[in-house]
Symmetry: C2
Subunit: 406 residues, 2 copies
C-alpha cells in the first residue's frame, strides 16, 4: 500500500466530464489499496479568463487582489472533484490553500512555499477521506491569499508530497511523459522511462514544457520521486528520480530547443576593467534575463561582446545597449532575432569526453553554422540560425542514437 | 462623518463596467467624508451557473462542497471591486467570509451567522482602507466555508453593520425602494419613504422581493436602520426603521400578493381529537410549509379542513393528504392551484378597528369572492381566485388611499 500524490493539470479537468473521468481514475487507485491525495489546477483557460477580467478593471491589476481572484479557479475544480468522488462512493474533501494550509511568503503572484503542516491532510487520510487540494495557491502569515505563479500547481503537488511523506508524486498531463525531444518536429522522439532530477531541470529550463522548474528543484531537494504521465492512458510515463549508475551509460538523454532567443552584439568595445558591468547592469535593472554571454578579445585593446536575451525583451535590451554603446565608445551595435538555441542534455557527459565535439561535428555535417556555444556539466547549447532549428534537432536526435530503443 | 455599510446586489455588479460605476459611487461617498464598508453579491447569474455545474457532477450536490464552489462568486466581485477602487485613488481591500471572519453554524447552504468580530474591518477603516466584504459566505468553527442561502448578502451587510456599529446599512438594488405595491401591476404604486421593521417583515414574507427576511429580522433585533435604494440613481429610497408615532396614522402601508399558492380541502373529516396532527404531521415531515389553515365544523361530528401550500409542493402534498384521508375516513379531497393571496399591511391597524371589513367590502364591490381569510396584528390576507389578483391589488391600493401622496 503506497501513499501517492496525484496532480492533474488544467486540460485534465477542463470540464465536468473530464473531472468525472479523473475522479474515476483516483477512485480506481484507491480500490487497488493505495492512499491518494489529489492536487488540481483550474479548468484550462479559466486563469486567463480571470486575468482578462482583472485587466478590464485595472492594468496591471493589484497583485494582492489578483491573487484573490485567481484563487477561485482551483476552488471551483476541487469542489467539483470532491462531489464527483462522492458519486463514486468515496469520501472526499476539498482543501483550499488557506485550509491545508500552504504557507507562503508575501510575494503575490509568485509566492514561494515556506511550510506545509501535513497534519490535516494526514487526519483526513486516516479517516478514509480523499483530500483534494487546490494547486497554485497559498496563504501568508497574515491570512492573505497568494498564488505561486504559472505552473505553480506542480510545486504544490511536490510540496504536499514532501509534507505528508508520500512515496511518489504523480504529475498527470496531456502527454505520455518526458520525450527525448519534441515529437512535433521529430517523429522518432521516444518517451524517456527514467531521468535524473538534474537532467529534468536542464530539459525544463531549456524549453520542454512538461514540468515546472521549481517543482523539480523541490523534488530534487527532498528526494521525492516524480512520475510524469498521461491522464488519458494507464501506461507508465517518465520517472524523475535521483541519478543512478545506469544513467551514466547514456551519453545524451534529450535534445531541446528554444526559438525564443535574440542576440545582441557590441563590436569594438574598449577593453577596460568594469566594462561588462557598464553593459549588463542597466539590462538587469530592466529585469531582462541575459542567457549566454561571449566575449572575443581582438588584437589590441578592443573586444566584441555578444549575448542573448528572450525575444520579448529584445527591443528594450537593444535600446539600452545602444545608449550604453555611445557612453563607453563601442563602435557598433547589431542585433538578430532569427536565431535559435539547440541543446543536448545528459548526466553521462560528466564521465565521457568528446560529447561536445560530436555535437559540433553533427551540426557541421548538416551545413549548420554555430553562432555561439555554451556548456555546463551536463549540457551543451549551440545558438544557430533559426531556420535550421528542426533540422538540427532531428540530426542531433539521430546522431546521438536517441531514436533507438534504450 | 457617518460610518456606512453599503451592500450591492448581483445586478449592480453584473459586469466590469457596473463594478466600476459602483466603485465610483462608493468613492464619491468617501470624498464626502463618510467611512464606507462595502458588501457585495456575486455577478448576476453566476450563482446559478455554478449550481448548474455542480448538478452536472452530483445531484443533489454535496452541501459542504457546493458552498466551497458557490463562495467563488463573491470572491470574484470583491477582488475586482477592490481593484476598481484603487484605480480611483482609494485604498481598498477584499475580505472573504473566512477573513473577516463571518462566523456561522455548520448548516451548509443555509448557515446562520453566530458572530462577527469587527476588529479587522475597524483596523482597515482606521488605516483609510475601504473594506470590501464578500456577502453570502461565512466560515464554521472548524474552518469550512458556508453560505447563508439565497439573499444572504443582505444578512451579511446588516450583520457587518451591527458588528462595526455603523450608522446605517444601505441596501442597493435595481429598484428605487420599497413600493406600496408592485408597480408592474399597479402604475399608481408609490415609493414608501419610511416603514417599520415589522411592516417590512410582513411585506417581505408576503412577496415583495426587495429585502431578504432574515436581514430585516437582524436589523430589527439590533435596531440597525436599513436604507433600501437604487444603485442607478442618487435619489433617497426607503428607510426601514423602528416604528414611531407618525407611522400609526397610516392605516395601510402596502398591498402585497402572491400567486405561488395552492389550496387543498378535506371534506367531512370525522372530528376527533388529534385529527389535525394526523393530517399535518406527514406534510411537515415532507418539509412542506403550510400557510393558512381553516377548519369549518359542520353540524354533528364532521368537519371540513382547508389549507394552503406553496404551488411547487402541491402535487406532493395532495398525494400525502389523499393517503391520510383514507386512513382517517374523510369523505373527499379537493385541490385548487389557481388561487392567489392578497394582503394589506400596516402598523396602523393595531389601533384602528374596521380595517379588515373595509378590505372585504372593497373586494366585494369589485365582485371578488373571498375563499379564505387570515389576520395578524398588522396584516390581513385573503385568498381569492387567481384571475382576480391584479384587479384586487389595484382596488385595495386605491381603496386605502395609497395612490395619494402621504
Amino acid at each position: 500500500m503506497a501513499l501517492v500524490v496525484q496532480k492533474y493539470g488544467g486540460t485534465s479537468v477542463a470540464n465536468c466530464d473530464r473531472i468525472r473521468r479523473v475522479a474515476e481514475r483516483v477512485c480506481q487507485r484507491r480500490r487497488q489499496g493505495d492512499d491518494v491525495v489529489v492536487v488540481l489546477s483550474a479548468m484550462a483557460g479559466e486563469t486567463n479568463r480571470l486575468i482578462a477580467l482583472a485587466k478590464e478593471i485595472q492594468s496591471p491589476p493589484d497583485p494582492r487582489e489578483l491573487d484573490v481572484l485567481l484563487a477561485t479557479g482551483e476552488q471551483v475544480t476541487i469542489s467539483l472533484f470532491a462531489m464527483a468522488a462522492k458519486t463514486l462512493g468515496f469520501e472526499a474533501r476539498s482543501f483550499l490553500g488557506t485550509q491545508v494550509p500552504i504557507e507562503t511568503d508575501r510575494a503575490h503572484g509568485k509566492a514561494r512555499i515556506k511550510n506545509i503542516p501535513g497534519e490535516r491532510l494526514k487526519e483526513a487520510l486516516a479517516q478514509g477521506i480523499i483530500p483534494v487540494v487546490a494547486g497554485f495557491q497559498g496563504v501568508t502569515d497574515s491570512g492573505s491569499i497568494t498564488t505561486l505563479g504559472r505552473g505553480g500547481s506542480d510545486t504544490t503537488a511536490v510540496a504536499v508530497a514532501v509534507a505528508i511523506g508520500a512515496d511518489v508524486c504523480e504529475i498527470y498531463t496531456d502527454v505520455e511523459g518526458v520525450f527525448t525531444t519534441d515529437p512535433n518536429i521529430c517523429p522518432q522522439a521516444r518517451k524517456i522511462d527514467r531521468i535524473s532530477y538534474e537532467e529534468m531541470l536542464e530539459m525544463a529550463s531549456l524549453g520542454a514544457k512538461v514540468l515546472e522548474i521549481r517543482s523539480v528543484e523541490f523534488a530534487m531537494r527532498y528526494g521525492m520521486p516524480l512520475h510524469v504521465r498521461s491522464s488519458f492512458t494507464d501506461a507508465p510515463g517518465t520517472l524523475v528520480v535521483e541519478e543512478d549508475a545506469s544513467m551514466e551509460n547514456i551519453l545524451v538523454s534529450g535534445v531541446t530547443y528554444s526559438k525564443n532567443e535574440a542576440r545582441i552584439t557590441l563590436s569594438k568595445v574598449p577593453d577596460r576593467p568594469g566594462i561588462a558591468a557598464r553593459i549588463f547592469d542597466p539590462i538587469s535593472e530592466a529585469n531582462i534575463v541575459v542567457d549566454m554571454i561571449i566575449q572575443n578579445t581582438r588584437a589590441g585593446e578592443l573586444t566584441d561582446m555578444t549575448f542573448t536575451v528572450p525575444q520579448g525583451d529584445y527591443d528594450q535590451a537593444l535600446a539600452i545597449v545602444e545608449r550604453v554603446a555611445k557612453e563607453i565608445g563601442a563602435e557598433s551595435v547589431a542585433g538578430d532575432t532569427s536565431i535559435a538555441k539547440v541543446s543536448i542534455v545528459g548526466v553521462g557527459m560528466r564521465n565521457h569526453a568528446g560529447v561536445a565535439s560530436t555535437m559540433f561535428r553533427i551540426l557541421s555535417e548538416h551545413g549548420i553554422n554555430i553562432l555561439m556555444i555554451s556548456t555546463s556539466e551536463i549540457k551543451v547549447s549551440c545558438v544557430i540560425e533559426e531556420k535550421y532549428t528542426e533540422l538540427a534537432v532531428r540530426a542531433l536526435h539521430e546522431g546521438f542514437g536517441l531514436d533507438k530503443a534504450e
